[in-house]
């Protein structure tokens, strides 16, 4: 153990050349390359899938923004947030109000959506900064309790200020149709996938670079040992607020995209259960790895769909089927969360990386 510590500085001096001594691709270029490849794959996939699957994939993309943001916060910075459902609601309602305002003034160009999404991110960042400033002073169960309170209280606020948010009814989100250049018969769901996919890829590239940057390293340092981080000259509270803000931006964009996909927002969609779902997704996917967020987001969409087909197979009375369909995914999520936490705290991505690491260690002459 001590030998590797002594060897570490020497290794870091040769870092720009990479482990094998060859020139390493800069992180930004690599991430952009992956994003372009993913975008091309998405476009190809969007032509191959039926409209409903396109819509589901777009929903995965929207969830992915939020789970990636939560991964940065919980996995990399060690702060637990049960309030990300509420932050998603902030983004969603901002998009709704902004799009409504545009529609009232008769502006229906496609560009308004970009402005609205940006506004959603900015407003959520502001809210996240406030919550994060409080969160930076709290630890463990206290932080969980405060963010839980945020998640429970936020939907109630839409009823309190029903004049703006229209209470339980919620708001409609007017969204422009696909541009005419794509043709008259361009399926709307494919357009939705393109919009959500491009926003999510942009979000992921930014987050991916942040994670590999100096800031990402300070996030992890604070997570692993606050005292040591402080001794190394890291401003702990500022780092924690920054992590919360970044994470809130992801959640805000995710919520905004969900609202755009559903073309409506209502408080029922952003209940405490959504916050717990997000947490479950990042835990099962694997805390501390952005790739884990993808597994989690996919699971959030796939599991309810699977249970739906399952309940269709069983012959049940309509009432029983309805109860089962609404609650079976929750039960499965709950059990999975408990089992993963006890048996495999690294989640899916942790299991994968451990398998890869074991393989590499077996190969002679290679440093892992």
């Amino acid at each position: 153990m001590s030998a590797t510590r002594v060897a570490a500085p020497a290794a870091s001096r040769t870092a720009p050349e990479g482990p094998a001594g060859r020139w390493q691709v800069p992180t930004l270029v690599r991430h952009l390359g992956i994003a372009v490849a993913a975008a091309l794959a998405l476009v190809a996939v969007s032509y191959g899938l039926e409209p409903f699957r396109n819509f589901q994939l777009a929903t995965v993309a929207a969830y992915l923004c939020a789970t990636a943001g939560l991964t940065v916060l919980t996995g990399l910075n060690g702060q637990l947030s049960l309030g990300h459902g509420a932050l998603m609601a902030v983004g969603a309602y901002t998009v709704a109000l902004s799009q409504d305002a545009f529609a009232e003034r008769g502006v229906t160009a496609g560009g308004t959506l970009v402005v609205s999404l940006l506004a959603a991110v900015l407003v959520t960042v502001a809210v996240g900064a406030v919550v994060g400033a409080a969160a930076a002073r709290l630890r463990g169960p206290y932080l969980a309790g405060v963010t839980l309170a945020v998640a429970v209280v936020a939907p109630a606020l839409t009823v309190t200020f029903a004049g703006v948010f229209n209470g339980e009814q919620g708001l409609a989100v007017p969204v422009a149709p696909p541009p005419e250049a794509l043709g008259v018969y361009f399926p709307y769901e494919r357009w939705q996938l393109w919009v959500a996919g491009s926003a999510t890829l942009l979000c992921l590239v930014l987050l991916g670079n942040l994670v590999r940057s100096r800031y990402g390293r300070t996030f992890r340092a604070v997570r692993d040992d606050e005292v040591a981080a402080r001794l190394a000259g890291i401003h702990v509270a500022r780092t924690q607020v920054l992590a919360f803000v970044v994470s809130a931006a992801g959640a805000g964009l995710g919520g905004a995209l969900l609202a755009v996909l559903a073309q409506s927002v209502s408080p029922g969609a952003f209940s405490l259960t959504l916050s717990l779902f997000l947490l479950m997704a990042v835990v099962i996917g694997g805390l501390g790895r952005l790739a884990g967020a993808l597994w989690g987001a996919a699971l959030l969409v796939a599991l309810p769909d699977l249970t739906h087909t399952l309940t269709d197979l069983l012959t049940l009375s309509p009432a029983a089927a309805q109860r089962l369909e609404g609650n079976l995914p929750l039960a499965i999520f709950g059990i999975t969360l408990i089992v993963v936490m006890i048996a495999a705290p690294g989640g899916v991505q942790g299991l994968l990386s451990r398998a890869v690491a074991t393989l590499r260690a077996r190969l002679p002459g290679r440093r892992s």
Binding site: T74, A134, A144, G145, L148, A149, T160, L276, N327, F333
Partner: protein
Amino acid sequence: MDRFVFLTLDGLSRGAVYAAFALALVLIWRAARIVNFAQGAMAVAAAYAAYSVSAATGSYWLGFAAALATGLLLGAVVDVAVMRFVDHRSPLNPVIVALGLVLLIQAVLGMVYGNEFRPAQTPFSRTAFTIGGVAALSPYDVFVFAAVGVVGAALAWIFTRTAVGLRMRAAAFAPDVSRLLGVNVGGMLTLGWALASGVGALAAMLVIPTELGLHPHAMDLVFVSAFTAAVVGGLDSPPGAIVGGLGVGLLLSHVSGFAGSDLVPLAVLVLLLAVLLVRPGGLFAPVTARRV
């Protein structure tokens, strides 16, 4: 003035329930250093058990006993079957597992009973006596005070006057030494979970009839209020939980009476944030050295 008196008494009655629920949180925190986020869901499960038993037998009191029994049993089962296997080195892990339990319990309740509100009955009338023209306590409020008072006194007696209570405190304070001295530390922990969950079940039985009714999510806001109460009093202090619970009850009652019931959740959040930012250890916390 009449209104003020009424709201104060109503707030104290509501606060007594929050106090009991906060006490349940404090019990587990002191025993296992876990804030049991599944407390609300476990308590609702106990209340549903009471609903079924009452519906089958027609007796409120059999249902009440069933709720307490279910609460005790559920607490013990959660500890033995789940919490014992959780890695406690990171404080995140027990919290996440407890949230998994919340999802699971609420889903099972939803599957069995459906996600609609069911009426919950009370053993006594909720019509208030009038004293000198002022609406004061109802018989049900008196029952709430008596139940919470009896439970609080019983817990105080168990922990300070009995051998089991001494063992439970020892097991929580110094597990390794206690084990060497022959204390069944695991058993004491399970007992602590059972007691706490039983108290939580009692609180649910008392509070649910005063709200909208029985629902898998009926205790969500109560949990947040009780957590606030526990934090106000300091998570380590049982008397603090009682005082915090009564204080939170009073505050919420006055907010809902004078400013509108819509603002109650917001008031809880503001109070929780204010206490945590000004005095994170709670009002009753002793001064502690900073851990490095």
